[in-house]
């Protein structure tokens, strides 16, 4: 049971992120929602590679024993790098939106409709 806690946390993080995206009206809070979903997915990837009592996958001077799977960690790192780029782009767009519209309310920002 105790090893299922990370998976429960993953689902919670993703649901909280979706909640923030759908019900929060501030654009910055929506971006926080996106990062929450991202951390949930990253946590899921990391958890997949972990085994009970495993050590970090460094071969040099390793004490032996089972190691955590390094592939999900590499995947997570890539996903984090992408996440940084997305976050930077989103925030800079929000700065521009605030300059033009003078508001961060998602309902007032939605001028393109129909």
């Amino acid at each position: 049971m105790i090893y299922n806690i990370p998976y429960i946390a993953v689902v919670c993080l993703i649901l909280v992120g979706l909640y923030a995206l759908i019900f929060k009206r501030n654009l910055i809070k929506m971006i926080i929602g996106v990062t929450l979903i991202e951390s949930g997915v990253n946590l899921f990837l990391i958890t997949l590679g972990y085994r009970k009592g495993s050590i970090a996958p460094i071969y040099t001077n390793s004490p032996g024993g089972i190691m955590a799977l390094p592939v999900p960690q590499a995947l997570t790192l890539t996903s984090i790098v992408i996440g940084v780029a997305v976050l930077a782009l989103m925030l800079s767009l929000v700065i521009h939106i605030y300059r033009h519209y003078g508001t961060l309310d998602v309902k007032k920002v939605g001028r393109l409709k129909e």
Binding site: L48, L75, V86, V109, L112
Partner: protein, 539 residues
């Protein structure tokens, strides 16, 4: 050096190298930079062409070819589980041809269209990054790689959508686009993680061979299809599409059409290759119908319903728009519906015969061929229309159709190109849109006549929509405010001319296209056993 052997890597690497060299060259001279970018994409198109020639000319045994390329190691594949591989079959290279045509046209068109903007170094860098992301999505054989290229595509295209930062609406459209595509991409990554956790593999062929269709696989399939359909712009997930298409520069919009179609390719790859072995084998009992139904039928009908929704909503919304580019964008939503209709019909056409064994109806293959054929036709037609819209923006500095009129008097060639695009996108014979739409109509008619009737009616409404545009923008009395309007520069005309020529060529010789390129692509998708055999040696 034997170029086709290295082509899969070069197709992605050459634009990437070009992207990072562009700002360095841009410091020397602007013209030099433009020539450099055109050269890079030209070289890339030639490499794509070489690879395509090698793939489409069948080997001596007559079996379709699949090109594999392993990064950073020896070419002999011993265990594809831990390698990053590119697996290029006829379908991938078919999409790559479309993408390279669109991108090449875009950079030629940009020469004059974007001339008055500042920060063009970054613009060209992003265009080239978008190119490498799109082509990577199409050629990769690794699920995680697919996610990475998806994100590269969405980041660079969102930055391009918001390129005119002095316009509030452009920035808003860019924000919406990056929000939606990030959510989609994150759910794609989640699905990939589910698959990886179960089968310990990321390679598409290995996964396809191992997949069992457990409950988690179902969840992964749903996440993948929904997320990629959102990126492809299927109703009701299409709302970002008119926003970002209409407020981006016209060149960017044409490149975005390619990016959207790359997501569509993702749907095809996942449904027919990744889950190709399982969807048609597993049946399920429906209690109240008291019948066995194939899983692929369920997904097929779901896709068909959404596709019909896209066609109707896209057309009806397009009919009442007064914004030139927004109108074309809604028509593009409808066109995407036609492609999904073909795909859905193929999935729904699998059934049982009297001895209770699974059979593939022949019209299913026709539907898939029509859908795939429609991908290239839609890319060219909608691309041409967007370029015309850009040309009109270039001269009138306006997007609203209410402000236009009588432009045909001053812009003869643009008018001709618009007429070609209009007839082609509405599926009027003898242009290319008709051939593919006819295949879709005929095959869906055999599945369910109502679907075909709706599709034909909406195609007529598309014609009505564009006739409205033609009248209000090009016809009518010569307005005094457009007295001094001149024809657009030659580079823009040349770019539009390239697409128009290809449209007419495909329209007049549809069978050349169908026999040599579309049919192998459809065969590569449906013949999953061949794919597995060629990539990992499993029969």
């Amino acid at each position: 050096m034997n170029i086709p052997n290295y082509a899969p890597a070069l197709i992605v690497a050459v634009p990437l190298l070009g992207a990072f060299l562009t700002p360095l060259i841009g410091r020397i001279n602007d013209k030099l930079r433009n020539i450099f970018v055109i050269l890079i994409l030209g070289i890339n198109s030639i490499i794509v062409g070489l690879l395509a020639y090698n793939i489409f000319t069948k080997s001596t045994t007559g079996s379709p070819k699949i090109w594999t390329y392993v990064f950073g190691g020896k070419q002999e594949v011993t265990s594809p589980v831990v390698r990053i591989m590119f697996e290029v079959d006829a379908m991938s290279i078919f999409m790559a041809i479309i993408a390279s045509i669109l991108l090449f046209v875009v950079v030629i068109y940009s020469w004059a269209f974007m001339k008055e903007n500042t920060g063009l170094d970054k613009y060209y860098t992003l265009i080239l990054l978008l190119a490498s992301g799109m082509l990577g999505m199409m050629l990769t054989g690794d699920m995680f790689n697919f996610f990475v290229f998806l994100e590269i595509t969405s980041i660079s295209s969102a930055a391009l959508v918001a390129f005119w930062t002095h316009k509030g609406e452009s920035v808003e459209a860019g924000f919406k686009y990056i929000l939606v595509s990030t959510i989609g991409a994150l759910f794609v990554l989640f699905a990939i993680a589910i698959l990886y956790g179960q089968y310990d593999a990321l390679n598409i062929a290995v996964l396809s061979n191992a997949i069992q269709y457990t409950f988690l696989d179902k969840v992964a399939l749903i996440l993948l299809i929904a997320a990629l359909a959102m990126k492809a712009g299927l109703v009701p997930l299409h709302m970002w599409l008119p926003d970002s298409y209409s407020r981006a520069p016209a060149t960017v919009t044409v490149a975005l059409v390619g990016a959207t179609l790359a997501s569509l390719y993702g749907v095809l790859r996942i449904v027919f290759t990744l889950y190709g072995n399982t969807l048609e084998v597993i049946t399920k009992q429906i209690e109240f119908l008291n019948a066995d139904i194939l899983v692929s039928n369920m997904i097929g009908w779901f896709v068909i319903v959404l596709a019909i929704c896209s066609i109707i909503v896209g057309v009806m919304m397009a009919l009442r728009q007064t914004d030139f580019k927004r109108l074309i964008a809604f028509a593009a939503v409808a066109e995407i519906g036609y492609m999904f209709l073909g795909i859905g019909t193929k999935l729904a056409s699998v059934g049982f015969d009297t001895t209770n064994s699974i059979i593939h109806a022949e019209y299913g293959i026709t539907a898939l061929e029509g859908g795939i054929f429609h991908i290239i036709n839609d890319a060219l037609d909608v691309g041409l229309l967007f370029l015309v819209a850009g040309a009109i923006y270039y001269t009138t500095k306006n997007w609203s159709l209410n402000e236009m009129g009588g432009l045909a008097r001053n812009m003869k060639y643009t008018t001709i190109f618009f007429a070609i695009g209009l007839l082609a996108v509405a599926g009027m014979p003898p242009f290319n849109g008709f051939a593919s739409k006819l295949m879709i109509y005929e095959s869906t008619f055999q599945l369910n006549p109502i679907l075909a009737i709706v599709a034909i009616l909406c195609s007529i409404l598309i014609l009505a929509t564009f006739v409205k545009v033609f009248h209000s923008a090009f016809m009518g009395p010569a307005l005094p405010k457009f007295k001094d309007v001149k024809e657009v520069p030659k580079s823009m005309l040349f770019a539009m001319g390239i697409i128009a020529c290809i449209i007419i060529f495909i329209g007049l010789f549809p069978n050349i296209m169908l026999e040599n390129i579309v049919r192998p692509a459809a065969e590569a998708l449906t013949n999953n056993a061949q794919y597995l055999k060629m990539v990992i040696g499993v029969i």
